[in-house]
Symmetry: none
DNA sequence: AATGAATGAGATTTCATTCAT
DNA sequence: CATGAATGAAATCTCATTCAT
């Protein structure tokens, strides 16, 4: 029942912020990162430009809130589904499937996420934020692999490195799908990735 | 088979262009995409602002030349090494190893490449250029896989999809390494990826 | 001789106006003139933004009310004390002492006053208001000097010019104290100024 | 023969900067501090707005350069004249006369200087800059007084405090003259101030 | 009376591009 | 070829003011 909100935000304030973040994500997916202005976002949201700087400290603040959501939204989706599984092999498969599915069902989200790499500036902060999110997700995957080894479900392999590979493979597949959806068959790739990984980790 | 420049560029002209493109890549890697101005590049190259717009039609032209180089440089490196191998299994292993190695030895290049994936502006052109490069490399990998199947070196699998996965995995690993080099062991990941793929495609 | 408000203000209305003016002065002293927004003042007063524009025609109105108070508050303090003295030499000394004392006891007031001297916008009106207040106080001082001459307490000198000097000296001392309180000893300066002026005007 | 210039400025660059600073001072004197925009200054200088941010980091930078000049220009004028005098009593008189004269001959300068107090923001930096300039000038005056005491030209008094008073009196007189030139006779005030001070410090 | 979200005019700032030298 | 000062369009940011609740 803990209340957060460092500065007590009103309900309407929260709604507006959420609306603007969602619109920002949509606009970035449509126009690209470099080409998205506050005006574009305001117009897409049907509000005046001033509304954005009224609710966010500045453009950078809005962008970072959007990036936060870009990482958290798929996480919530995936983690919830993974945790409903008990066997680690089911968890692993669910992790891959759910991640791919979320992105297929939310292309704007996926596109904006991939684009967000270009938003990294020399101010290390932005990079750190993205890196932290990356690491967090990768660790979640790594834990599944280790738990599976501990339970005897999986054989012997370097869990940290395999987590890197699987996570990297998914991200790389999504990048391809963003750039060239016509020649990228995410669903089949998902199946084959699962198949390959399962064979790799089987205890035999 | 080298084609000469269609518009007769002087030698000094070519050198300048090359110098500027290289500096642009280095600057993007250092400052991020959104934070790199023509002045930044000019300063880093030790020339005046005007030099850039003298040698390139405009900023977009310079960026596209840089992106071209970002894709072509690792390609040359990798393809050369791959083609010295005759067995397809050697080619496949060489492809993965050489790609990882080139990027480890040219971090600026790698960083700029990852940043650029999503430097897409509303001119769909940029996205098409990147997608085309992606596809080209993936096709090269796919051909190795198919040739290996034809030669009986590899077993049965969907080559197009596996090419997607392997290519995606490498790209994803590089992305992780760009964001967080400390926790990303590229060399080990490379070995394990090769191991996993080889087991997956073994004909048995 | 107090005139009632020409437009019938309720008691609560008057209290609010006074509270806001006081807060404005405090905020200007804290944040500087150029850096004080209506929101800053509202926040410092613990009220909503709208309250200010509800009680004041606009920002300019609030600022002018505040400037009015900045001049009137020390005046009331000083004039009351001066008029309790009968000898003009006592009045003169009291004038200087009381002015310095009021400002030492109300640093925010003093700071805001110094800052406001030059808050002049292109509307010459603001400058006129400040000049009028200045002149009024100077005249008050001048009268003491003239009355002293008439009574034979003081010797021969140009009263108008000496009033300028004394008034200017006090204002200048306060400015220094505002800018650099550590190196400005107002109390000693006050004594020495009185001493110097008294010697200058002594009839001998 | 020491060269300064931390970053090697070209001659034309220096001229432009000087021109813009001068125009800024003139514009501030005319329009007031709060009412002066970069556009106003650019227009008055007959250049485009971009020129200003090309030659100055930002508006704040220009303002601080202008404030620097506001303090340094009268200083140079006054110090040069003072140092041509050998007797300390001549130096003191020259200090007061020259300060008043410079300001009478450069009203824009004087007006902008007085206005500059309103430019102080909560960022302590601006205040410190102004305070530092103030202190420096006051110390110069203090030294004249002490040297005169050491030479036996002047009698016994607290030199630091008298310097405060004389400096404050001049500044206060200038403030009055800025606000209300019609009723402020600077020339006569200057004479009477000298007279009063000389009597105060005479050794008898 | 009071609130505070929203507006929009006007300011500052950035920067690709031009052009006289 | 090269320079770098200048431009001006377009972006971000600020904030007094309005207004529905």
């Amino acid at each position: 029942m803990a209340t957060r909100a460092p500065k007590k935000k009103s309900l309407i304030e929260e709604l507006r912020r959420k609306q603007i973040v969602d619109t920002a994500i949509r606009t970035i997916a449509t126009r690209g990162f470099a080409n998205t202005t506050l005006n574009n976002i305001a117009e897409a949201a049907g509000v005046s430009t001033g509304v954005i700087t009224y609710h966010f400290r500045n453009k950078n603040d809005l962008i970072e809130q959007s990036i936060k959501k870009l990482f958290e939204a798929p996480n919530e989706y995936v983690i919830g589904r993974v945790e409903r599984q008990s066997a680690q092999s089911d968890r692993l498969r669910t992790y891959i499937e759910a991640t791919i599915r979320f992105n297929m069902e939310n292309r704007d989200h996926c596109v904006a996420l991939i684009y967000s790499f270009s938003s990294i500036t020399s101010q290390a902060h932005r990079q750190q934020v993205i890196a932290k999110h990356h690491t967090k997700i990768r660790r979640f995957l790594e834990k599944i692999l280790r738990d599976g080894q501990a339970a005897g479900e999986f054989g012997k392999f370097d869990a940290a490195v395999l987590a890197q590979i699987v996570f990297g493979a998914i991200e790389g597949l999504l990048t391809q799908w963003v750039l060239d959806p016509a020649t990228t068959d995410l669903a089949r790739a998902s199946k084959q990735l699962i198949d390959m990984v399962e064979r790799h980790i089987s205890p035999s």
